[in-house]
Symmetry: C2
Subunit: 492 residues, 2 copies
Amino acid sequence: MSAAETDALELLRGRLAELADVRALDALATWDQLVMMPAGGAIQRGHQLGTLARIRHERATAPEIAGWLGELEGRDLSPLDADLVRIARRDWERAARVPTDLAAELSEAHSDGHERWRAARAEDDFAAFAPALERNLELARAYGECVAEDGQGTYEALLSDFDYGLRTEELRRLFGALGEQLAPLVEAARAHGPIDRPEVPREAQQHAVEGVLRRVGVDEEGWRVDVSAHPFSTSTARTDQRITTRYDDGGIESLLSSLHEFGHALYERQIDPALERTNLGTGTSMSVHESQSKLWENHVARHPAFAAVLAAELAAGGYEVEPAVLHEAIVAVEPSLIRVSADPLTYPLHIVLRFELELALIDGELSVADLPGAWREGMMRLLGVEVPSDALGCLQDVHWSEGAFGYFPSYALGCLIAASLWETLELQEGPRADALGRAEVETIKQWLGANVHRHGRRLDTVPLVETVTGRGLEIEPFMRYATPLASAGARM
Amino acid sequence: MSAAETDALELLRGRLAELADVRALDALATWDQLVMMPAGGAIQRGHQLGTLARIRHERATAPEIAGWLGELEGRDLSPLDADLVRIARRDWERAARVPTDLAAELSEAHSDGHERWRAARAEDDFAAFAPALERNLELARAYGECVAEDGQGTYEALLSDFDYGLRTEELRRLFGALGEQLAPLVEAARAHGPIDRPEVPREAQQHAVEGVLRRVGVDEEGWRVDVSAHPFSTSTARTDQRITTRYDDGGIESLLSSLHEFGHALYERQIDPALERTNLGTGTSMSVHESQSKLWENHVARHPAFAAVLAAELAAGGYEVEPAVLHEAIVAVEPSLIRVSADPLTYPLHIVLRFELELALIDGELSVADLPGAWREGMMRLLGVEVPSDALGCLQDVHWSEGAFGYFPSYALGCLIAASLWETLELQEGPRADALGRAEVETIKQWLGANVHRHGRRLDTVPLVETVTGRGLEIEPFMRYATPLASAGARM
């Protein structure tokens, strides 16, 4: 290896380490904003995050990176360094293709859109939001055209920001089949009528969340668990994982969402330490990330055997409930208006609708003015639900207000991939029921670490799924998981 | 104003805003490290802080800044912009004069020194620390020579990093007089024998700290109060002030230290909002900063009238104590080994010793090998205290291990300036005793805001003190404060 070559690799690795540090600081500042910061800090925090974003963009798109990559490409590198160079090239090309002016316009439009959306949702006034959505769509199309690779449509180019390598056609196929095959299950579930939901005091929830998280390995050495308005997870280092939950309602959502966020965090935690402070040391895509949270939410927390563990932790917190009753409430299917509180069977249908609509919006086949009507029609068609207002309809989610088109699919893909991984895991390691009844999850964690987590960004979504399961993206494992849910309690 | 000139001012202001943001992020990452971060995050946090420091140094020393300053100097600017340019020039010159290699060597030696000091203190093994201290001294001399202005000695040049414009000669005069005039008071205090100190349960301390801070204006909108191993204060914005305390011991140190940190934070909070995100929007020097903490610690918390407020808050937390008994414990004079737990009268003598020794070390008049002996001799001479070990002697403080020579004087200057300001305040606003008995501090806060805080860095230490008090740095006000303390309880 020549001196120049070594040097280019060192310089590239130095820059990537710096970018990883800046990303971690951004994560910290955002976490603090949502969890710790007094309200008085808000305006300056906006400036601070803006400055970090500018520094990051400037250093990520600097021309010297292309110089280093040019020196390194085609050389004989270790497999790790070859991946590092390959992904650095991809990231650099995508970032550098966006003109500075467009990047600034996007950023402004997203802040503006977010503010207008908040106001419009509060007032249930879609018309007040429509111009901002129109502007976000125009800019998203312009952005998509900049970053599109050969043969890619605009929507697929946008998708690549969240899930590199995913094809729009593939999503049409998967989500079309999901819509068709879930519809009769929703119909069947509706026949059961409403379920009694437990009313769990806040103290018992809190006790159970702490107890369950401790059981799956959340310790003080490497984790924080806090409260925030919306649950999320973040990390400032592989060994500093932070998850949040909330205890507002009287249900057991705090338990489900804690294990959901634990799944995200465990992914980041079990990435190969050799990838830390490189461009490869994070989860590979939004859909694989969501598969990790959904695996812990759907397949662990909602497993019939795990209900005994949850009930025991609730009992230790002073709330007595039969495991069977608890499980029934946890898996109850009830078509409803709001995505974030949807049950595990109907959840993907909320995404199927959003995918259809955002694809049509980007392609110009649906006008912004027609969105509320299309939303109502879709909710009736897919879920049999009447939408009483736009606030409970097409204004419910933040994503489009911030210009995030192509993000929604990852939520449903996460459900599909989680089910595929879970079947493979049980095939290779045996059924988990007995172990889960004893809250033993070490095998699950190790299997995920060895098969999914450690790769970081070295494998994109589809290659990763193929490597682990031997099959591509498919809906059958999820359908096998979802079908028994349609008849409440059937899995017990 | 020409277009180029406007442009240079805008560019300069933009860079200064960015540097202020980076400073705030550094403050946040450090606060998080000491208060929130799981231990697992330590190594990566070190990298993250290192990256921030590099980015900050690179952007603070960039040659374009000199270009902008050149365009702006001598032009007709508003008084605020003229100050902004003046201080920007000073900061740029000081930073740019340090060769990159030396900056890197300093940073490495300080980390290394810190690690060796920790180990050496734990083992009470000065010899193990001596080579690192020797290295820090060499590098500090090299650094001081780089940044020295015309006619400045090396020590004075180092001092300027913490207190710009302070003269070594002035410190010799002040600290010499302090040593002489405090000695007989220490002797007198020793005659009284030891004082009974209250043993306050942790819950009562905590309750009282929260209550007292609420009384002086700490609200949820703009403040956080947390626990850390060593109390400190920091801010990520003028309206996001964070202070910490600790409750380990059974004494009332938590109350004193909370008001101490409140004084630091209030200074930052009351700086003119127009200075936010400029180079002028922080406290002007370490000694003025310390004067603000000492004002709240010595002149408010230790005021005989305020003892009733403290006692009431402790009582509300379940701990009953007579105000007079509490006050006696709070002002009790007892010569001791450790600076950070010293009483208000002997505290400055700990600093007089450190100033003598670090000046002699930098000037080469004291060798590192002779430091432990000189420390013992000084403690006996100034405080009449026998030093049983280096761990309780010259290894007790972190500062020299991190190359901070010239920092210690600010602690004693803070005591002197606080006393001067307090006398001026009472002269202008009338005695505070009655109001303090009712926990009314609004006048104090407003006076400090209008006279001291709002200026930010626009006035250096000595001009600020002269503007407010009409006099220079002097020891008499502090001596008038300290003299009654020598006879315990006399001020009641």
